[in-house]
Each structure stands twice: as C-alpha cells, then as structure tokens.
C-alpha cells in the first residue's frame, strides 16, 4: 500500500498539466481578483476569496488525482496487471481515495500562501487549521466522484468528464462567479457538495462550525459516491 501511494504520488507530481490546473490557476485567480480590501459581514473579502479558491484547488485536486488517470490505466491494462499482484482491490480503492485527499494539499497550500502574502488575510492559526482540515475531509466526496467517473468513462472522455463535472460544481457551488443564481438554480446549488464546502469554509473562517445542512450535504454525497464506486468496481471486476 505504501509503495502504491509513493508510486502514484510521484506520478501525479510529474504531471505538469495537473499542477498548472490545480496550483497555478487558483493562485493566479486569487492574485487577480482576490486581493480586495474591505469586509463583508465582518469577514475580510480577501479571506472569502481565499476560501473559494482553496475549495477550487481542493475539489479539483481530489477529482483529478483520484479519478484522472484511472480511465487510462484501465484502457492500457495497467489495472489488470495490478490485479494479479498482491495489491488487493480494497487497498487499490483506498489508495486512490487517500491519493485524492492528499492531492488537495499542494493547491490549498499555494492558495493559502497567496492569501497570507498577497491578500493580507489575517486569520487565527486555529481557524486556518480548521479550514484546511475541513477542506481535506470535505474533498472526500469529490475524490469518490472522480474515481467513479474514472471507472465508468473511457480515455479522453474521462478527463473531459471530470473537468466538466468540476466546472459545473464550481459554478453551481459559487466557487467561481458571485451573486445568486437565477430561479430554480439557487435551490439546486444548496444541494451541491461544492456549495456546502464553500459555505462551510466561510463559516469556519468567521469562527463558526459548519451548519448541519452543509455537513449533511457533504455526507450524503460521500455515501452516494462511495456506494456508486463500490458497485461499479464490483461490476467491472465481476467474474
């Protein structure tokens, strides 16, 4: 399991496209639009922007790291090869999910650093740690979702599918763009995990715990995506 994690981390770290998309893009966005002074409901705007971009980095990192290479690995027969080594299916699945969660860190660290240095965000260390903790746990449903997409889609479609899902969730969840969504969409967004994570993050930096609804939405997505992954995995590896 450790050797599998080490292998996958080294592989991900060498993927330049991935690093640009998940570190350079959110950090760049933050530097362009996030460094506003002023407050909103007693919280620095630059801190709210930090939450949004950290969620971008976290959700994108989890989706891509957990699921991104899986479709190619399947197509090339690498997963089949792994199946005849002592690495069990359960460990493979666990490894992919842990990888998704771990790969949240580089982007979140980059955005945090930008917030600290360029955005002059002042947060007590405890809240900052709580935010990072929330992002790690809250990216679990995204990792599972990415893995599910990697298991059902093929090759380039999978990469594209993950990016489409990522942006759809980012827009719906208010990670990208500001203000209310038109009509029914404002209701729909309440049910997205990205919205739950952004709102939860905003609560944490204001010194509150995330609400039950926010935590509940994330938990439901985690369970649903987790069950979908397991069912799909069983089906595809069925005798």
């Amino acid at each position: 399991m450790m050797s599998f994690m080490r292998f996958e981390i080294a592989r991900t770290a060498r993927n330049v496209k991935y690093l640009i998309f998940l570190i350079a893009v959110p950090v760049g966005f933050y530097l362009l639009w996030g460094r506003q002074s002023g407050e909103q409901d007693g919280v620095q705007i630059s801190a709210l922007a930090l939450v949004a971009m950290a969620v971008y980095a976290a959700t994108g990192g989890a989706l891509m790291a957990a699921g991104g290479g899986v479709a190619d690995d399947r197509a090339q027969g690498w997963i089949r090869q792994l199946k005849v080594t002592p690495l069990s299916d359960a460990r493979w699945l666990a490894g992919r999910i842990v990888l998704g969660v771990l790969m949240v860190l580089p982007g979140v660290a980059g955005v945090s650093l930008a917030g600290l240095l360029a955005g002059h965000v002042h947060l007590p260390a405890g809240r900052w740690a709580a935010l990072i903790g929330l992002l790690l746990v809250g990216s679990l449903p995204f990792g599972l979702l990415g893995l599910f997409l990697g298991l059902i889609l093929r090759g380039k479609t999978a990469q594209l599918g993950i990016v489409v899902v990522f942006f759809a969730l980012a827009v719906l969840g208010g990670v990208i763009g500001a203000g209310a969504l038109p009509g029914i969409w404002e209701k729909v967004r309440q049910l997205t995990p990205s919205y739950g994570l952004v709102q939860g993050g905003n609560a944490v930096i204001a010194g509150h715990a995330p609400t039950v609804t926010q935590a509940g939405v994330l938990a439901v997505w985690t369970v649903v995506a987790g069950v979908a992954v397991i069912l799909r995995w069983r089906q595809s590896s069925g005798a």
Partner: protein, 298 residues
C-alpha cells in the same frame, strides 16, 4: 498431489454462447514448465485468467499452490505476464519495478530485477518510449519481482519479432532457474517444443493432448522433411521408414514422417542424390487437426 503447483480439474467456463473451456483438466508439478498450446480462442487465456482468479469457473475446481487462485495471488506467490496487461503512463521503468518489488514485499531488490530483465540501461525511460520487446521485458520484470513460486506467461512473445522473441526467452530461462514452475500460453508449437517440459494442447476449450513436446510432435504427424531429388519416385519414398505422406513438385519433395531420424538416414542410404535437405516440425495447424480428430475417435 502435494507436489502439484496447479490442479485444474474438470473446469468449464462459458461466455455467452461460447464454451471457452469444456471440462478441461491438467496439472503442473513443482518446478515444471508447461506450455498451453492452441489457437486463438482455444481457451488458453481463459485458463490463465481462471488460474489467476481474474474470473471464476462455472464448474470444476482450481487449486493453485494448495489454495484458491485469489489467495495465491494475494499472498504474492504468483507472478503473471498477461496478454492484456499494460504499463502506466507518467512513470519510469524504475518507478514501475520499484512499485512491483514493494507490492511483493521486497523479496527482490529493484536493481536485481532490472538486471534480470535486461532493463538496467532503460530504467530511466518512460514505458511509452519502449519497443514492444522492451515493454514485454518490463511486464516480465513485474511478474518476477516477487520471486514467485509459479509464473504465468500468457502469449508472451505474440507481438515480437524473431530477435526480440529470442532475447525474451533467454531472460525467462535466466529467471526461472531458481525452481519456479512456469505456465505459458502460446500458439507456436516451436516455442512449446523449445521451452516446455510438457505441453497441454487445448482445442475448443478441451484438453486434446497432454504430453512431452516430442510426443506431441509425434502424435501430430511428426515432422516435415524437404529435399531435392534428381528423379523422385513416390512409391519408393512412401516405403521409407516413418513416412506417412509424400508430396512431389518437379524435383522438390516434401515428406511427412513420424520418425525423421530414420527417414533421413534411409533417404541418404537407399535413395541417395539428396540435396538441400531440411527437417522442420509440422505446423500447429496440422497438429491440432490431427489431435482433435484422434480425441473424437476415442
């Protein structure tokens, strides 16, 4: 039965309307190298998949190293080079071999495995930069990185040219020296002949023969002897020891024989004037037709 590495008993497996394996039985002893020989679709890959626990049989029992296929694989006692197995993008050969060594619990060192598979010079390359033969050696490296008691090679040389095939088998021989059992699937009779202690011939999912390579070749109508004679006489040629069939085109003669050594000897002593003599194995095609019909008659 304690000495059997593989026990394959009355195993059947169907895919849709295709009976991939039909009550097939064979075994592999400890340290033995066994070839599964047959055409595409004969059931070789299905048999390998079943022995690795990648699929389950509809019927019959499979015991690998005294346990179930999936337990043997999970215990790291089996190595496999799959026909449909592949290598990952974005990783060097060294990364891949290091991963394999780690997954098998460090029974071999990375440098040792690279050396064994002739990959030391290529360790820094990506899998996508390798030739077919080189990529196949990487898959082989993965398969032997756990010093397995049992090694499966599913059509390991199918896409390789003659030179790469020779190199590949040289590497396999080097690695299998420490007493591991080897099961390889092939549709080259020649490959089975050269590398196997025993050959299990599959046809339409059934085991139609299970014997030493030379016995298989004898059963299959033996060998083909080609030569040029000044004035070939079909009657005299057919009367030579071992000869079962004679084909003549002008001065070119093709003899099919059960006993090539005696046929050739008598060809020189009783007929003479022999030029351009060549002895080859009969093709797999003839072998399978002959073996399948034998089985049907019995």
């Amino acid at each position: 039965m304690e000495n059997s590495t593989v026990l394959f008993r009355e195993v059947s497996r169907r895919f849709g309307t295709t009976q991939a394996l039909d009550r097939a039985s064979f075994s592999v002893g400890r340290g033995e190298t066994v070839a599964l020989l047959g055409h595409n679709g004969a059931g070789k890959s299905t048999a390998v998949d079943l022995m690795l626990g990648l699929r389950r049989p509809d019927d019959g029992d499979i015991t690998i190293l005294g346990t179930s296929p999936s337990r043997a694989v999970a215990g790291g006692r089996v190595g496999a080079l799959l026909q449909t197995g592949g290598l990952p993008d974005g990783a060097t050969i060294r990364d891949i071999v290091r991963l394999a060594c780690g997954l098998y619990g460090g029974k071999r060192r990375v440098g040792e495995v690279l050396e064994l598979a002739g990959l030391t010079e290529l360790a820094g390359r990506q899998a996508t930069e390798l030739s077919g033969g080189q990529a196949q050696r990487v898959r082989f490296a993965i398969a032997v990185s756990g010093r397995p008691d049992l090694l499966f090679l599913d059509e390991p040389t199918v896409a390789l040219d003659v030179e790469a095939r020779r190199e590949f088998w040289a590497v396999v021989r080097g690695a299998a020296e420490d007493g591991a059992s080897v099961v390889f699937a092939t549709h080259y009779l020649e490959e089975a002949d050269q590398f196997a202690d025993r050959v299990v011939v599959l046809s339409h999912g059934r085991v139609v023969a299970d014997a030493t390579p030379s016995a298989i070749k004898a059963m299959a109508g033996g060998r083909a002897v080609r030569c040029v004679l000044a004035a070939p006489d079909p009657q005299r040629l057919l009367a030579l020891p071992g000869v079962v069939d004679v084909t003549i085109h002008g001065n070119d003669v093709l003899l099919r024989t059960d006993d090539a050594d005696r046929t050739v000897e008598m060809l020189y002593t009783s007929i003479g004037g022999v030029r351009d003599l060549e002895v080859t194995g009969a093709g797999l095609e003839e072998a399978l037709i002959s073996l399948s019909s034998r089985k049907d008659q019995s």
